[in-house]
């Protein structure tokens, strides 16, 4: 397994102005994640987990500090540059699945490949859908699928372009325990097969325990690394 640093932050800050005054969401977060590592970011509600994930993926901009993905400084790029970088190196799995409602399961998996201009989008997507056991459901729309099935489609979509890093935001948050277990198994299996770096945000200690590293956030600060 390669040991190069894939995700790195330096002195990351995020403040927002709210009606109650300035609010600090993240305060000087430094972390580095090596290629192929699985990392859980844990913490209570409001500790800044999702804010950190948003910044790591370049979905939001920090008020201070740096983030780099695969050695590229995210915020030296403009928003379009970051989108391009996401398309090339990053995959996502969300708590609310975030499938496009007007696209079938197969088309949802094809979408990132199509956006990347790949001509083999359909074959690749069919392969990944088979891998997550949803071939029979390929032509179903999200609202015709159960929550677990929707999340499997989302996982297939995330892995289809072989991303370097995969960010998962409470991937089992909307699912019952046993379905959640199966989803997590699938996530880790695919991760192992593709050698992806996995960063997941959760408040589920059981899920966090399956990761190699666990970073705990408390009031916007990285508290400790639990091994």
């Amino acid at each position: 397994m390669r040991s190069e640093i894939v995700v790195n932050t330096q002195n990351l800050h995020k403040r927002v102005v709210s009606p109650e005054g300035e609010l600090t969401l993240l305060q000087g977060v430094n972390l580095s994640i090596a290629a192929g590592e699985t990392v859980a970011i844990v913490g209570a509600s409001g500790s800044g987990k999702s804010t950190l994930l948003g910044l790591l993926a370049g979905l939001d901009e920090p008020t201070g500090g740096q983030v780099s993905i695969g050695g590229q400084d995210l915020f030296a790029l403009d928003e379009d540059g970051r989108a391009r970088l996401r398309g090339e190196k990053v995959g996502f799995v969300f708590q609310a699945f975030q499938l496009l409602p007007n696209l079938t399961a197969l088309e949802n998996v094809m979408l990132p490949l199509e956006l990347a201009g790949r001509h083999d989008a359909q074959q690749v997507a069919e392969g990944v859908l088979q891998r997550v056991g949803l071939t029979a459901r390929a032509s179903h729309y999200p609202k015709q699928l159960s929550g677990g099935e929707q999340q499997r489609v989302a996982i297939a979509r995330a892995f289809a372009p072989h991303p370097q890093v995969l960010f998962a935001d409470e991937p089992t948050g909307n699912l019952d325990r046993s379905t959640g277990e199966r989803i997590i198994d699938l996530l880790f299996q695919l991760n192992a097969e593709q050698g992806t770096t996995l960063v997941l945000v959760t408040h589920d200690p059981h899920l966090a325990a399956r990761c190699q590293r666990q970073l705990e956030l408390d009031e916007g600060q990285l508290k400790a690394e639990l091994q």
Binding site: L59, D60, E79, E88, A96, Q98, E107, L115, R118
Partner: protein, 830 residues
């Protein structure tokens, strides 16, 4: 994968999901309505013009004082046109001891090309329509001529060096209407082959040669184009537009009605498109955020949606053009047998217009908001509350409005109509927003009253005030269109029809001498006809404008040249004639008697470039006099009453040779009255305008039918807007109903709250729609159609009623399925 293919795949997927149907339907309706109206107006215009050309005896008439060159006939034949020749001149004819000056017309065998002569087999017998003219060796004479000469059918008349037999009594010629008031000599029609033998046409004779042409509109246009610039003095070209102000006015008005209908449909469709786009965008915010997340750059997103919309717009335009074409055929099949018109082929122009309409609607109402989709915050994938996208009203709909204005200017040939519509449009939206906003505020205190369904319904309207406002504007615009249709249908069109009442004058008496006035009145009274008003008339030639000598050559347009060339009929009156309105300057007072003032018809003033303050000098039988224009008048030519271009105060024209004219309605059954009149007053000319009257009436009837048909599109577009408005809040409503049912809301409770909310919205928007429809109807009636319309409370009441019931039912039906779904299914689908 190329961006285009990706966009096409997405288009296919969106279409499959039903996201684009309202948008596409609205575009199709906009394009179809413009296309069908233009297909239709271009064809009906050609057809109706052709019909009116019967009044000329041809589609185009070439007139010369020196003869018809053979090359002209040859060129017409070469272009596939039919032709006929006539020669006209005044001459004396004899019968026994008696002689009479006549207006003689010698016509070739093919005369008349269009329309028909009417003849009677005996003096004062019933006449019938006949084909062609008299054969060589015979003549047809007018009843006045035969009466004066004391001959009848079968007798012989001497014309120049030869004798010709009277074969029939000529009662009407198709082309008599041209210059109808000026041909007062008795009529004689003979065959052109007999003309040389008469020896009447000598080099110095006052002869008018006519070449009548008929056939394909393109070839007629070609001839016009070739000949018009090279006309020499003494030559001219005429078509029906020059000949009959009544017909021209009816045609223009009809086309204005149709253009109005088409433009209102486009406006409505634009509103539906805008609303559908709004919903499309709010439903695609997440998708865009996800695609941004998956690596799509802003330009990729913009291109993706733009390409989809443009392709959709093109497809919808093509479908719309096809629908418009078919609709126009339907209309033609429906109208043609009634009108008995031959259909010219449709032109390609409407296709272009349809395409332009589709694209402008798209670019104006869809593209600006769609382009903002790329700005969706990517973080929305993690935090749903990071809402929406503020679609700037100005940037999104301002462009739409501008695009629409451009479209109106492009489509409406009539600037006044365009301006009325644009001003109306801005006013309507402002008024709707204002009134809707005000009504919503008024509604707030009502929230506390009534049962739970009432409270929930009313609360919903005011709580979602942003959406409610848009919904109300949508319903209001839709209802306004439907009510405007009712206004136009019931009030404006019938007002127009009434302009030409069943008892409009169909007979004119000309050349009544002052000393005959009492005799004529008495005669009519004794025949049981109420004597009509008799108008004095002095024939005069215009010689100077503002002290400068003028001739026909000083004027640019054909019509102006012709107007100046021929004699004016000056008249006088103390009061403004019924049906005339002074549009600038002021009418004279009793103390102005005898003053050198003129009142000029505004169309003539425009044609000759005259205004209040200008001075005109006339020559009456060698005497000159000048007077100043003190006012301009608008004349309702369609009334068929005797009207005058130039009038003076009483006294000014005293001492000049005068005769009188009158027009009145005479039922066909009483035609014999006129025969007796001609016997008693041989110098009076009787003109029968019943044919022209019927023609104009026919045009009005056909156009009214056409307008009603075209309004189907307007109604469809109006329904589309309302449908889009119901859909605008559907997602919220589905979610809300699901939540409420989960919380234990009974089906019947939710149902009655939905019914109440929609009925309430409908009532309010119906009121707003009725007020605006009334206002627009009033302005359009006055400004564009020159009709008077005053909206009444019946309109407002029916607006509220139609709104409450229509929107209540439609809204409930459109939302009802929400209640039939298990709430969990709904919630999971969100």
């Amino acid at each position: 994968m190329s961006g285009f293919r990706l966009a096409m795949r997405h288009l296919h997927r969106e279409w499959r999901a039903g996201e684009l149907k309202v948008l596409a339907m609205a575009l199709v309706i906009a394009v179809a309505s413009v296309t069908s109206v233009n297909f239709f107006t271009s064809r009906i215009h050609q057809a109706l013009t052709g019909q009116a050309n019967d009044l000329l005896g041809g589609d185009l008439v070439y007139l010369s004082e020196s003869g018809i060159a053979e090359e002209r006939v040859a060129r017409a034949v070469e272009l596939g046109l039919r032709s006929a020749k006539t020669v006209e001149f005044p001459t004396m004819v004899l019968a026994g001891e008696k002689n009479q000056l006549v207006a003689l017309k010698a016509a070739s065998s093919s005369y008349p090309l269009l329309g028909h002569n009417r003849t009677a087999p005996k003096l004062f017998a019933v006449d019938t329509e006949v084909t062609g003219g008299p054969v060589a060796g015979t003549i047809w004479g007018g009843s006045r001529l035969l009466t004066i000469l004391g001959v009848d059918v079968g007798d012989v008349i001497t014309v120049g060096n030869i004798n010709l037999k009277v074969a029939a009594v000529l009662t009407s010629e198709p082309d008599q209407s041209e210059g109808v008031l000026f041909n007062i000599a008795p009529r004689l029609l003979m065959h052109a082959d007999d003309l040389p033998a008469t020896g009447l046409v000598q080099p110095a004779s006052r002869v008018v040669y006519r070449l009548l042409l008929a056939g394909d509109a393109g070839a007629i246009g070609q001839i016009r184009q070739e000949w018009e610039p090279k006309l020499k003095p003494g030559e001219s070209l005429h078509d029906v537009q020059d000949a009959r102000p009544e017909v021209r006015s009816a045609l223009t008005r009809g086309e204005n009605f149709l253009a109005l209908a088409a433009l209102v449909s486009v406006l409505l469709a634009g509103a539906a498109v805008a609303m559908a786009t709004r919903r499309f965008i709010s439903r695609h915010l997440d998708s865009c955020a996800i695609m941004r997340c998956l690596g799509a750059e802003q330009a990729v997103i913009s291109r993706l949606y733009l390409t989809q919309m443009i392709v959709l717009g093109l497809l919808a335009s093509v479908v719309g053009i096809a629908v418009g074409y078919l609709a126009q055929w339907g209309l033609m099949i429906f109208l043609a047998p009634l009108a008995g018109i031959e259909l010219p082929a449709p032109s390609l122009w409407p296709v272009v217009l349809g395409l332009v309409t589709g694209m402008v609607t798209l670019l104006g109402f869809v593209v600006p908001p769609i382009l903002q989709l790329k700005n969706v915050p990517t973080l929305r994938v993690l935090r749903r509350d990071l809402g929406g996208l503020q679609i700037g009203a100005l940037s999104a709909y301002g462009i739409g409005m501008l695009a629409f204005v451009a479209l109106v200017l492009f489509q409406a040939q009539d600037l006044k109509l365009a301006a009325a519509i644009i001003a109306g449009l801005i006013l309507v939206v402002l008024l709707l927003a204002l009134v809707s906003g005000g009504l919503l505020l008024l509604l707030k205190p009502l929230r506390k009253k009534g049962g739970p369904a009432w409270r929930f319904g009313v609360t919903n309207i005011s709580r979602r005030s942003g959406h409610s406002l848009i919904q109300m504007i949508g319903f209001g615009v839709g209802l306004m269109a439907l009510l405007l249709l009712a206004v136009v249908r019931t009030d404006l069109l019938s007002e127009w029809e009434n302009r030409l009442p069943a008892d409009a004058p169909n007979r004119f008496l000309i050349n009544i001498q002052p000393e005959q006035l009492d005799g004529v009145r008495q005669f009519l009274r004794s025949e049981g006809v109420e004597p009509p008003l008799l108008y004095p008339m002095v024939r005069a030639r215009l010689v100077e404008v503002n002290g400068k000598a003028v001739t026909a050559d000083d004027f640019k347009t054909d019509r102006a040249k012709r107007l100046v060339k021929r004699e004016f009929n000056l008249s006088w009156a103390e009061q403004v004639q019924a049906g005339n309105t002074v549009t600038s300057g002021r009418w004279w007072q009793p103390e102005d008697r005898g003053k050198a003032f003129f009142s000029v018809e505004q169309g003539l003033a425009k044609e000759l470039g005259l205004g209040v303050g200008d001075s005109l000098t006339y020559n009456v039988a060698g005497q000159r006099f000048s007077a100043e224009i003190t006012n301009l008048r608008q004349v309702n030519w369609e009334s068929f009453k005797a009207n005058f271009f130039v009038m003076a105060p009483p006294g000014l024209l005293d001492g000049y040779p005068v005769n009188y004219i009158t027009g009145f309605y005479l039922p066909a059954a009483q035609h014999a009255v006129l025969n007796r009149m001609v016997q008693q007053f041989p110098n009076i000319t009787v003109l029968d305008v019943a044919t022209i009257l019927d023609q104009v009436r026919g045009i009005i009837e056909q156009v009214i039918m056409a307008v009603e048909y075209v309004f189907i599109f307007t109604v469809l577009a109006g329904l589309m807007v309302m449908y889009a408005a119901i859909h605008a809040t559907l997602d919220d409503r589905i979610h809300e109903a699901a939540v409420l049912r989960t919380l234990g809301g009974r089906r019947s409770q939710l149902m009655s709250s939905i019914v109440l909310e929609y009925a309430g919205l409908g009532l309010l928007s119906g009121l707003v729609g009725a007020i605006t429809a009334g206002a627009i109807g009033m302005v359009v009636a006055k400004q564009v159609f020159d009709l008077v319309y005053v909206p009444g409370p019946a309109l407002w009441l029916s607006g509220m009623l139609i709104g409450a019931i229509g929107v209540g039912v439609a809204g409930t039906l459109g939302t009802r399925f929400v209640l039939n779904q298990p709430p969990l299914k709904t919630l999971r689908g969100m």
